[in-house]
Structure formats: structure tokens, C-alpha cells
């Protein structure tokens, strides 16, 4: 049965949308990510206007993050101080991002900005992840000890405005978390992602947070950012389609449960290796669309 989406102003088949939600939900359960980087390009490919796709995907991420966050909360593995500080930066980041989004849309460069940001970010993250997981796959096979990363972050400890983060057992400046929050907020508004694959490495390698609080804290941060961006997109760009969101979430939350179960059968580095391949595949697909001469040099948009 076809369903007419009131904001996207087009008819979609409900099975396709549910299926997309399920598939992305499965992968996000498997890999422990929000899946925004998959869902947004998928929706655009299906013909949903990119403005609506970016804004609506965020609801899907909010929903798929909440069950994980609740589980971590029961384990008391959330640093709310850290999440709060990052959200503070994230608030300004989303405001900036939504403003940039509207500006780019008027200039007609929205699709380019979305595609380019995706190619750069996915290429970088996918490359790093592939390298890291490949190294640990090799060492796991040869039985040797995992390589130790030499990390030197003395500069972070020299910054002012230090705050005690009890749950993370850290006493550091609030400037790095605020900046990370700002960056992720901006990307969230432009790209329709939760930013988990930026926040988690940043927390581990940059802020040196203990890994047991990283997952819960990043999920709270992601929920906060996506909820905020949804609100801002709804009020300034009218681009949130609640009917589309409901169908995506319905498929997504079920898919995520199957994904989590499937993920239990794989080892951590295997999952990361597969995820890296997926990220790079999406990146390559988007890059292809940017460099291959278009079949039609003109594009049309109804409205300004």
C-alpha cells in the first residue's frame, strides 16, 4: 500500500520504508552505531528530498539510542556531567548547523555539502577503522600481544576551565568536550547523523575517558543532540516528516534487536572490520556520484 507523506509531499510504499528502517536498525544493533550515515543516503537514493531525509533520520537515531542508554543507565555507566558539558557545546553546534543548512539550501549547494561531508568523514573514519581492525585481526591470529598506542595529550591538560568529572575519574578542561560537542552538533544538523562514530573515538583517545562509561555517555549525548536538532529542523526548516519517522522507527527498533543478537556471535574486531568495509562502500558510492559526469547537466527544483 502506498502512503502519502505530508512533509516530503510524495507517495512511498510502506514496506520499503519499514524495510529500510529494519535493515539500518539491524546494522546499528550489530555495530552499535546510530546508523544515520546509512539511512540518510538511502532515503535520498529512494527519492526523499535530502532536506527531509537529513531532518527525519535524526528521530530514527533518537529511538534506536534510547534502549541502549537505558541499559547503560541501569548499570550506572553514564557520566551525566560530561554529557551535559558536551551537549552545551552541541547546542550551539546544532544552531550553527541548522543555520548553515538553510543557507546552503538557498544557495542550491545542499546536496554537494552533504555528499562532500559524507565522503570526507566516512573516508577518514572508515580508513582508520579498517586499519585498526586489520591490525588487531592479524595479531589475534598470530597470538601476539595487541600493539600499544603511543598517545600523548599533554596539551589537553594545560587548558584552563578545568572541571571534575567524577564518573569518568577525570579532572580536565571543559574546552575539548565543548568543542567536540559543537563539531558533532554541526555535523548532525548538516548530515543527519548522531555522530557516535566521532564521539566514541574522541572520548577514548582524546579525553581518555574509561571505556565502561564511554558507551552510555555517548548515547546520552547522541539522544540529546538528535532531539535538539529535530526540534530546530522542525521549527526553522519544516523538514521533519513525522509519518516517515514513525515508519522508520517501527522498522528500526525491531531490526536493532535482531542486530544485537547477531552481533553477539561475532568478535569485536570482526565487527569493526565489517563495519569499516560498509563505511568505505558508502563513501565510495557517494564519491562516484560526485566525480562521474551527470547524465543531465541541469537539475530542477520546484520552489526557490
Amino acid at each position: 500500500m502506498e502512503i502519502y507523506l505530508p512533509i516530503a509531499e510524495m507517495s512511498v510504499h510502506w514496506m520499503v520504508i519499514l524495510g529500510m528502517g529494519f535493515g539500518v536498525g539491524f546494522l546499528s544493533g550489530l555495530f552499535g552505531v546510530g546508523g544515520g550515515f546509512l539511512l540518510t543516503p538511502l532515503l535520498v537514493f529512494y527519492g526523499i528530498p535530502s532536506t527531509v531525509a537529513v531532518a527525519t533520520t535524526l528521530s530514527h537515531i533518537t529511538a534506536s539510542s534510547i534502549s541502549g542508554a537505558l541499559a547503560q543507565w541501569r548499570k550506572r555507566a553514564i557520566d551525566f556531567t560530561m554529557a551535559g558539558v558536551m551537549l552545551g557545546g552541541g547546542f550551539f553546534g546544532t544552531v550553527f548547523g541548522v543555520w548553515l543548512f538553510a543557507l546552503m539550501r538557498r544557495a542550491g549547494q545542499m546536496d554537494l555539502v552533504v555528499s562532500l561531508s559524507y565522503v570526507l568523514l566516512l573516508g577518514a573514519v572508515g580508513g582508520l577503522m579498517l586499519n585498526e581492525s586489520w591490525v588487531s585481526l592479524r595479531t589475534a591470529r598470530s597470538g601476539g600481544p595487541p600493539p600499544v598506542r603511543p598517545v600523548n595529550h599533554v596539551w589537553i591538560h594545560g587548558l584552563p576551565l578545568r572541571l571534575r568529572f567524577r564518573q569518568s575519574r577525570l579532572y580536565i578542561s571543559i574546552i575539548p568536550p565543548v568543542l567536540i560537542g559543537f563539531l558533532v552538533g554541526t555535523l548532525s544538523a548538516i548530515m543527519g547523523i548522531g555522530g557516535g562514530f566521532i564521539i566514541v573515538p574522541a572520548m577514548i583517545y582524546l579525553l581518555r575517558m574509561p571505556t565502561n562509561v564511554v558507551i552510555g555517555t555517548s548515547l546520552v549525548q547522541i539522544i540529546g543532540i538528535t532531539a535538539l536538532t529535530t526540534l530546530l529542523q522542525a521549527t526553522s526548516n519544516y523538514s521533519v516528516d513525522i509519518l516517515l519517522a514513525a515508519m522508520l522507527i517501527a522498522g528500526g527498533v525491531v531490526g536493532a534487536q535482531f542486530g544485537v543478537r547477531a552481533g553477539g556471535k561475532l568478535r569485536g574486531e570482526q565487527i569493526r572490520f565489517l563495519m569499516a568495509l560498509l563505511v568505505l562502500a558508502v563513501c565510495a558510492g557517494l564519491l562516484w556520484g560526485l566525480v562521474v559526469p551527470p547524465s543531465d547537466f541541469y537539475t530542477l527544483q520546484l520552489g526557490t
Partner: protein
């Protein structure tokens, strides 16, 4: 718009006795887009009164969507990447244009004559243009792209005669058309000149849940956004309760 109505009024008000004229109607004056709308057809029908003879007489049916702005962009290669480079905004172009005629337009009359009455895709000209360069390639691109999206169409022989004077045309209204007031125009043409014309409004609107959601999103954007967030949180929470593994 005004001009067209005046034309219709004049033509309707002066049917001198014995002159050919036109009576027409539309099967529907309101199309409501509901959640399972996948496009529909309207039927435009009519009769030629006081017809002189069947040869050299033609009927053209035009369904014209609300005026809108078409923004056309041209992609150019910059640093190896294809980006939108030049753009032109064409205002006053219809969001939908469907033309059915009893014969191909080229056989009915001269393009220039017909264009004066707004008949034919080639006659569509923007009111104003915002661009820094030659507009014609952008107008051509707009016509071509709208045609490939099924929003602009000319169908020769789309008007069928059921008898000497009685005619009928099926006009598709696809899903995804712009909402608003459409005009259904019927022209009686003899030897390449319009002798009678009629125009009927047709309204296309969302209805039911879709309409309410659309209004809600625009009138109370904050409440709508908040509802979207709360819905996401609730659905996520419910799923985690439903699927929680027994411990």
C-alpha cells in the same frame, strides 16, 4: 490569470446566434490527496454547439497547475567534482501542464498563434527571471526536466470525439503534484484560431490526517517537533521493554 478570465467571460457573453461555441465540464472539481493517493484521472468532456463542419475544427484541453517558481541549476566540473554552478529562477511557470488535443498541435495551427493563447508547452514563458546569463537554455532545461518527471505533457490525439460534436479527454493527476488551484481550459479552434474557450477551476488539496499533519508542522512547528522527539523516545523505550530478555 485575470486576462484569461476576461477572455473567457467575453467569449461566453457573446455567443452570436449561429456561431460555433463550446460547452464543457469536468468530472471532478476537487481532488483530495489522502494517505493512499497514488494518482487519479479526471475526465474533461464537452460538446460543440452550432458546429459548422467537422473538418478544420479542433479541440484542445489544457490543465494548468498553480504558478510556481522553477529553480534550474547547471552542474559544472570544479576541481574534479560536479557542482551546481549557474542557476536561474523562473517565476510564473505552472507546476503542472497537461495538454490533450484532437490532432498534433503542428497540424492544428501555427505555433505563434496558438502560443498567444497559452496553448502548447513551447508557449510557457516565465514572468520574471533571476539569472545573470542567457535564460533560454535554462527554460529549455526546465521544460525537458518537467516533462521527464511527468509534470509537463502534450498528448496529441488525447481528445477523442464520441460523435460529430461530443468530445472527451482523460487527464491524469499523478501523485506528488503541487496542491492548489488548477485551471481546466478547453479551446475550440477553427482553422488555427481560437473561436471559443472555457475555463473551470479544479482544486487539489491534501485532506484528512495528511492535511492536519502538514498544518500542524507549519502552524505549531515547536509542538510538532517536540511530538516527533517524544514519539521517538517512546517508541525506543517501548521496544526496549518489549524485547528485554528475561533475566
Amino acid at each position: 490569470m485575470m486576462r484569461r478570465w476576461l477572455l473567457v467571460l467575453v467569449l461566453l457573453a457573446t455567443p452570436a446566434l449561429g456561431d460555433e461555441s463550446l460547452v464543457s465540464g469536468v468530472s471532478q472539481d476537487l481532488i483530495q490527496i489522502t494517505s493512499n493517493y497514488t494518482g487519479s484521472d479526471i475526465v474533461v468532456f464537452g460538446d460543440v454547439e452550432e458546429q459548422k463542419n467537422a473538418t478544420g475544427r479542433d479541440i484542445v484541453v489544457v490543465v494548468r497547475g498553480p504558478d510556481s517558481v522553477l529553480t534550474v541549476r547547471r552542474r559544472d566540473r570544479v576541481a574534479g567534482v560536479w557542482i551546481n554552478h549557474d542557476a536561474a529562477s523562473l517565476t510564473g511557470m505552472p507546476a503542472y501542464y497537461y495538454l490533450a488535443s484532437s490532432r498534433p498541435l503542428s497540424e492544428i495551427g501555427q505555433a505563434a498563434t496558438l502560443a498567444r493563447d497559452g496553448i502548447g508547452l513551447a508557449s510557457l514563458q516565465p514572468d520574471t527571471v533571476h539569472a545573470h546569463h542567457d535564460v533560454e537554455p535554462f527554460r529549455q532545461a526546465a521544460l525537458r526536466l518537467m516533462t521527464s518527471e511527468g509534470l509537463y505533457r502534450e498528448v496529441p490525439q488525447g481528445v477523442e470525439f464520441l460523435s460529430e460534436t461530443l468530445f472527451r479527454a482523460h487527464v491524469p493527476v499523478p501523485a506528488g503534484v503541487t496542491r492548489g488551484q488548477y485551471d481546466v481550459e478547453v479551446y475550440l479552434i477553427r482553422n488555427g484560431a481560437v473561436v471559443s474557450a472555457q475555463s473551470t477551476p479544479l482544486f487539489i488539496d491534501q485532506t484528512g490526517l495528511e492535511r492536519r499533519l502538514y498544518n500542524w508542522a507549519h502552524d505549531q512547528a515547536f509542538g510538532y517537533g517536540l511530538a516527533a522527539v517524544v514519539m521517538a523516545l517512546l517508541m525506543g523505550w517501548i521496544s526496549s521493554v518489549v524485547f528485554r530478555r528475561p533475566t
